[in-house]
């Protein structure tokens, strides 16, 4: 790192050709805004997801499920902290950040939440809806877990290398959370009443998770793509997620 180096190439060209940025010192202002937005959306979603799942621990029907729910609650908070540590490099006050919002707050189940950001925090809209019981929590965890894998895979190639690296570390653990959900769903789907309950939750969560990928045509995506922060468009990701979700649910006779 050295300042005073005269940039031999415009940063936009550098990013367009796959260049990586490495620290707050070499991040241009607009890039910084978009990057901090991406990072805080991830942090807020993990914190809200963890806070929401904390209640599911006490809904768990058995000790294995209780451990799985505890682990998901713990690790999602840990993932939030890892990215918050990167934001701290940009001046974010970590202690104040955690206190800034009520991460467990939810709207009522039948409210229609605008997929655009709500209020002060940047959590994805799906994390504003409450869970109604164990089966509902498991279904939400599977569907949103799959969506999270697509989102993390996408961002783990982003042009801000510290963020990409942290997401690369987080990805296998998030995959495990989704698999824990699948294992739980398999047990639920083994019973007739369980299948009926699961189908009702799938009908509720499927469209809400689908919205988290953002609008099909998005000026923001184009902006992020130019900055090397995104590569695959929202609709392509949503389609890939839907196909995988349907295949997984079909395998459990829940299609």
């Amino acid at each position: 790192m050295t300042s005073d180096a005269t940039g031999s190439m415009p940063i936009g060209d550098y990013l367009a050709r796959g260049g990586k940025l490495t620290s707050p010192e070499n991040v241009p202002p607009r890039y910084r805004g978009e990057l901090l937005r991406l990072m805080s959306s991830f942090v807020d979603s993990e914190l809200a997801g963890s806070a929401g799942f904390a209640d599911a621990i006490n809904l768990a029907p058995g000790i294995r499920e209780r451990i799985a729910a505890s682990r998901i609650t713990l690790e999602k908070a840990d993932h939030a902290e890892r990215v918050l540590d990167l934001m701290e490099d940009f001046g974010t006050d970590k202690a104040l950040y955690n206190k800034a919002h009520d991460w467990a707050a939810r709207v009522s189940r039948d409210t229609s939440v605008d997929p655009k950001r709500q209020g002060g925090d940047m959590r994805l809209s799906v994390f504003h809806y409450p869970l109604t019981g164990w089966t509902d929590a498991v279904v939400m965890n599977v569907l949103m877990g799959l969506a999270t894998l697509f989102a993390l895979e996408e961002l783990s190639h982003c042009s801000y290398q510290p963020f990409a690296d942290v997401l690369g570390d987080i990805l296998p653990r998030e995959r495990r959370h989704m698999e824990l959900g699948l294992e739980g769903l398999e047990r639920i789907a083994a019973r007739e009443d369980g299948r009926a309950e699961a189908r009702a939750s799938i009908a509720y969560w499927m469209p809400r998770v689908a919205l988290t990928f953002g609008p099909a045509r998005s000026a923001r995506f184009e902006r992020l793509r130019e900055m090397g922060l995104r590569h695959t468009d929202n609709e392509t990701m949503r389609r890939a997620w839907r196909a995988e979700a349907e295949a997984r649910l079909g395998a459990l006779n829940l299609g």
């Binding site: 300042s3 005073d4 805004g33 290398q161």
Partner: protein, 358 residues
């Protein structure tokens, strides 16, 4: 919040005609804050003609050297680097923030890894820190450095690299690439380009054996190298970049204030909350930014660029009316929520309540 600490200059060594290596000593109570990781950098601040400049330079010492050194190459027109090269004296004190940066991989003493480093010019500084640390902390690992410079005379740390090579025979090798001076082999002359890298990977470096590659240098060089590494099978995660800090924008000079408005006694009462403490002072409504008035009243408000782009000085207006002159950093939703860039924030009402804590 990152704070500045005084570092005493205990040695200055002329490294090349236009680069110095500065040895720095933190105060006893700051020692822990300046414990660094290989590949990190320090951000310094200093006033030049009344304007504060902040500049970042990589640490060039390894973890086991027991000291803190940075390499500063003089750049034409660079106020800080010219001053450091020409005027800085032993015994002077520099203000620096604790080490930052993530240009490193975790050390694992029992692993036998092969690292590959590419450095262009003063981009050697963080790479040198990594080389020395890896050689001492990972006794089974090896490091290959490809080091590009204009000419022999501009090679920073040339002797130190030679010594390292002799000290760690078989574990450390250097390939110098010189732009303007022909060497015995053509491969080592000229700029690093795709063709040269191809030859390098065919004849000298087995890309498959490389665990991690570190690149620090000018942007086009980094892109060419990264592209070549990818085509030889390295993944993004195996390639670590360190980009030079982008040159900071010029500072706005103090605005001309008409004597009339200054004499009008038009003033504002400002309350500023920082780290839980609230201070109140009066400031003139003459176009002075609230940040400057707060600093003038000995409030250690956070700020960096002072030009409305970095958002380090972001604060929230809880009461009163203000105007932001320039805003390149805050999103519309932040502005609607009452956030301002305090470096650009001019009071309009007679009372303003502002907080850095929200």
């Amino acid at each position: 919040m990152a704070r500045f600490h005084p570092l005493e200059v205990t040695d200055i060594r002329k490294e090349t005609r236009d680069a110095v290596v500065v040895t720095l000593k933190p105060r006893e109570e700051d020692r822990a804050a300046f414990a660094f990781t290989q590949g990190q950098y320090l951000t310094f601040r200093r006033e030049f003609d009344g304007d504060e400049l902040r500049r970042s330079y990589s640490i060039c010492t390894g973890l086991d050297e027991g000291c803190l050194k940075v390499g500063i190459k003089r750049v034409d027109g660079g106020a800080f680097s010219t001053w450091a090269n020409e005027e800085l004296k032993v015994g002077e004190v520099l203000d620096a923030m604790p080490p930052q940066g993530r240009f490193f991989t975790a050390l694992e003493p029992d692993k036998a890894r092969h690292y590959l480093g590419f450095a262009g010019g003063s981009g050697i500084t963080p790479v040198l820190s990594i080389i020395k640390t890896v050689l001492s902390r990972e006794p089974r690992s090896s490091f290959t450095l490809v080091y590009a410079n204009r000419q022999v005379g501009s090679i920073m740390f040339r002797e130190e690299l030679e010594d390292l090579k002799n000290l760690h025979l078989g574990r450390f090798s250097v390939i110098h690439v010189l732009e303007t001076e022909g060497q015995e082999i053509d491969l080592f002359s000229g700029r690093i380009d795709a063709g040269k890298l191809e030859t390098l990977f065919r004849l000298w470096i087995d890309a498959e054996s490389v665990d991690t590659a570190f690149i620090c240098g000018p942007e086009p060089m980094m892109l060419t190298i990264a592209e070549s590494l990818r085509s030889h099978g390295l993944t993004d995660r195996q390639i670590k970049f360190e980009l030079f800090a982008s040159s900071q924008p010029g500072r706005a000079k103090k605005r001309a204030v008409s004597e009339k408005s200054a004499a009008a006694g038009n003033s504002c009462e400002v309350s500023v909350t920082l780290d839980g403490a609230t201070r109140t002072f009066r400031m003139p409504k003459d176009g002075t930014a609230i940040l400057d008035a707060a600093i003038g009243n000995d409030i250690d408000a956070p700020y960096s660029c002072k030009s409305g782009v970095c958002s380090t000085c972001r604060a929230r207006v809880l009461e009163g009316e203000v105007e932001m002159e320039i805003n390149h950093a805050l999103e519309d939703y932040e502005v609607r929520a009452g956030y301002v860039l305090s470096c650009q924030c001019i009071p309009l009402s007679d009372k303003v309540v502002l907080s850095y804590d929200e």
